[in-house]
Amino acid sequence: MTRKATRIPAAAELVDAVAGFLEQELLPGLEGNQKFNTRVSINALRIVQRELLQPDRQEARLLELADQIRSGKLDENDPQLLAELRRHTLDRLAVDSPVYSAYLAARPQS
C-alpha cells in the first residue's frame, strides 16, 4: 500500500532525483574542475536531502480536510472551507510555482 502524502514528490525525493541525474548522467562525461565541483554539488544535495526529512506541519490538516470532504462532512459551498483551501494552495504555490499565472493573479503584489 503506497504511503499517502499531500504533496509529491517529497522535497527530499526531488533533491534525490537531481542528485541522481548529476551522478548517473552528467558526472561520467565530465573531467577536471567540472567533475570535482559536480561531486561537491552532489554532496551538497545529499546534505539538503537529509535535512529535508522533517515532518510538514500543513500535512496533518490537509489530510484531515481531504477525509472530511470525501466523507461528505464538509459542504463544498462553505466559504470558510474554500478560503482555507485557497490559503493552503497559495502557500504551496509560493514554494512550488511562484510565477504561475493564476498565482500572480491571486496575489499580484507582495
Partner: protein, 331 residues
Amino acid sequence: MSQNFEAKLRAALHRHCGARFQLKDFKRLSAGASAETYALDVEAPNGRQALILRRSATSGAGLGVNVDKRTEALLQRAAGKHGVPAPEILFILEQDDGLGEGYVMRRGEGETLPRRILEKAELAPAREGLTSDCARALAAIHAVPVDELPSLPALPAGPQLKQIEALYRSGPLVSPVFELALCWLGKRLPTAAEASCLVHGDFRNGNLVVNDSGLQLVLDWELSHLGDPMEDLGWLCVNAWRFGRRDRPVGGFGQRADLYTSYESISGRRVEPEQVRFWEVFGTLKWGVICILQAMLHLSGAVRSVERATIGRRVPETELDLLDLIEGHDT
C-alpha cells in the same frame, strides 16, 4: 540507438513504401512514457521527405488510458478523410517489421512549441484566425462518422469521472481540493443526449502545428475516445494550456465567445457555456491527476527522470485553477 534499430527502420521503409525510399538520417525527438517519437529524413522519388515514426515505448510504462498505436493511426486516417487536419499516415508497422507497434506519418511544417506559437511576431496573423481554425477542426473531429472509426473506448462524463477518480486514489497523493472537485463534478454530470461522438481528448496548445497559414495539423491522438464533444472545448481552455496568458482562455490566444460562436455556426451544435465549464473543471482535475501519474513513473523507478519528478509539484497550479473555476473567479 542500436544498428539493429536502424536496419529494421530501413527495411520497414523499403517494405511499405518501396526501395526508392532511402533513410538518410533519424533522431529521437522526445522521451515519452508510453510512446517514442523519431524524426526521419527520407529521400524519396519525388524529393526529400520529413517523416515521423511513432511507436509504443519499449519500456511499456504508460498511463493506461491510451489507445494502441494501430488504432491511433487508423483513426487519424478516418479523421483525415472527413476534413480534419490530421497527419497523413504513410504506413502502420507490422509484426514482421520487428519494431513493435507504431506507424509512420508525414511531419507537419510549422511551429509546435506553445510559447513560440503565442509569441513569434511572424505568427501574429495566424493567431488572429487560430481560434476559428480550432473551432473548424473540432467541428470536423466531432462530425467524423463513428462507424468509420476503429474501436474506441466510450467515455462520457460519468464513466470518465470514475476513471479519473480511480487513478487519483491509486496514487500516493491526497488533495482536499481534488476531493472538492470530485464532489463538485459528481453533482453536475452533463446529461447530454448525445455523448458518443469522436473526442480528440488532448486538443490543446501543445498539440497543434501552426504556421503563417494558420492551423496545419492536430497531433497526439492517443487519448481519443467516444464521448461528449464539449470535453474538447473545455480541455482547450484549461489554464495550464494558456502558457501564462490567463486572459486568453482559448489556448492563450483566443476568447471563449469567439470559440463558441465559430464552433456553433460550423458544427450546428449548440454550445452551453456551463457544460464547457464542467469539462474545463474536469480537464483541470484530469491534468492534475496526470501530473501525479508522471511523478509516480519516476518514484516507482519505472522511468527515472528529474523532469517527471518535478511535474508532481505542478499539482498546486491545478488546485488553484480548480478553486478559481469553482468559485467563479476564472476568466
